[in-house]
């Protein structure tokens, strides 16, 4: 088990955002979290990344407790997150954004290699490499954010709504890229509003409702589950 979360609870001020969430991500798998806006999906990711500090419960990564570690150490251990809402650095160039994504990587040739790989996934980023990130269109910024998260060479990649604002052809391409990343050995946790896409991609799935795990199981089975179909797939 690469990531094993037990009894994770988190607070934003007085608001309880997560209550006693258990989640397992086996090495090499794709795990998806689905749920309405505000169900706690992003909070979960921020807690695992060490950005949200007021948490209780245990987060084990590769057999080692990481809850309480500072976020930069967590990144160095191989966890990376592409946050919701892109959050690129608008006044830095595309290339600088990507370089900073590899902040924890010391080896310059490794950085170059990963940069090439990101460019091969998203050729538009190479064309725009000298442009300020803030001048990119929304969809291009989304690609940059995903590329930046890949630059640290994660063993566990957490993607928070990566398809947001992307053209259908790019979403299609993104699905291929996510598969490819997984096939190269990276474990992925995926949060998506596009539940069809997420359940189609994932091995296991967790449904979050107001901070609790309401349902979990094989993604292919949840795809057939009536509640899921009605509440999250809209069919």
């Amino acid at each position: 088990m690469l990531l094993s979360v037990k009894g994770l609870s988190a607070h934003y001020g007085r608001v309880q955002a997560l209550s006693s969430v258990d989640l397992d991500a086996p090495e090499g798998s794709i795990v998806t979290l689905i749920g309405a806006n505000g169900a706690g999906k992003s909070t979960f990711m921020m807690a695992v990344s060490g950005v949200l500090r007021s948490i209780s419960g245990a987060i084990e990564y590769d057999g080692r407790r990481i809850d309480g570690l500072p976020s930069d150490e967590i990144v160095r251990l191989g966890l990376s997150q592409c946050p919701e809402g892109r959050r690129v650095w608008p006044k830095m160039t595309v290339l600088e954004n990507l370089e900073m994504g590899a902040f924890s990587v010391g080896d310059a040739s490794l950085v170059r290699e990963r940069l090439e790989r990101v460019y091969s996934h998203f050729p538009i980023l190479e064309q725009r490499s000298a442009q300020l990130a803030g001048s990119l269109s929304g969809g291009e910024q989304q690609m940059l954010a995903i590329g930046r998260a890949l630059m640290s060479g994660p063993r566990l990649l957490m993607l928070d709504e990566p398809s947001l604002g992307l053209a259908p052809i790019v979403v299609e391409h993104l699905v291929e890229i996510i598969r490819e990343i997984r096939n190269s050995g990276t474990t992925i946790i995926l949060v998506e509003q596009n539940a069809f896409m997420a359940l189609g991609l994932a091995d296991t799935a967790y449904v979050l409702e107001t901070g609790r795990v309401a349902l979990s199981g094989k993604a292919s089975e949840l795809l057939k589950n009536d509640t899921v179909r009605k509440s999250y797939l809209g069919v």
């Binding site: 921020m46 930069d72 650095w89 900073m100 902040f103």
Partner: protein, 289 residues
Amino acid sequence: MLMVFLQQALNGIILGCIYALIALGLSLIFGILEVANFAHGEFYMLGAFMALFSMSGLGVSFFPALLIAMIGMGIIGALIERAVFRPIVGKPLINSMLLSFGLSTALANLALLLFGADPQKIESGLADYHLRFFGLHLTAERLMVLVVSVALVILLAWFIQSTRTGKAMRAVSQDRVAAQLAGINVSRIYTITFAISGALAAAAGTMVGAMFFVSPEMGFSVVLKCFIIIALGGFGKIRGVIVAAVMIGLAESLGGGFISYAYKDAYPFLLLVLLFMLKPQGLTGGSGR
């Protein structure tokens, strides 16, 4: 009349360079930690005393003393960040305003207690060498101030633009959470920011101590002026802050020389009001794109 104008302009530019050094540090702190540091003027004052005592106590000459002051204030700046500002990062601005105001008063009074109210002069040994060119007059000391501050500003701009740490500083200022997720140790960046700002303020203080004097209350008025400069130049914009600093220097010098010197502290404010009327986006604010 033209010569007087040019001489006043030259004086103003030198003054502006000093302001730029202090304001840039203040702007970095504001942009990266999102705290207002009213005690920044005291960093400048303590830096000047550090240089003064290095010269009188250790017997070193001016330039090594400048270096010692910069390093010393870098360290003190870093310690103050850890002890005082770290706990209030992310809290509303009023917290840091009140806290740093208190710190400013405490440091100024501590200096008054330790060093006395007497103003003292740092002897660079350069004030007695005179340069005359095209009818303009410049002492070697002022030339040194010009060269050192321009060099420091260029060094800072290069550092922020091109080094890994500098880029990380920009990343933190633009989106702190994204920087954390990229593996940047944000706390370390905060400390480095304070260290750099402290060192720049110390350099400015030392040079002002040579041109004018060192005294415990020298920091207070300068910090207000620097907040005006930051407002003029645009928050977190290096080029804007430099341009604004030189503009304020020129406004004081030319306004003081040609209108009335008794009200020269009013000119920066007038400039600020004027600019906000004409160009609400700030000096280097673009047309929206």
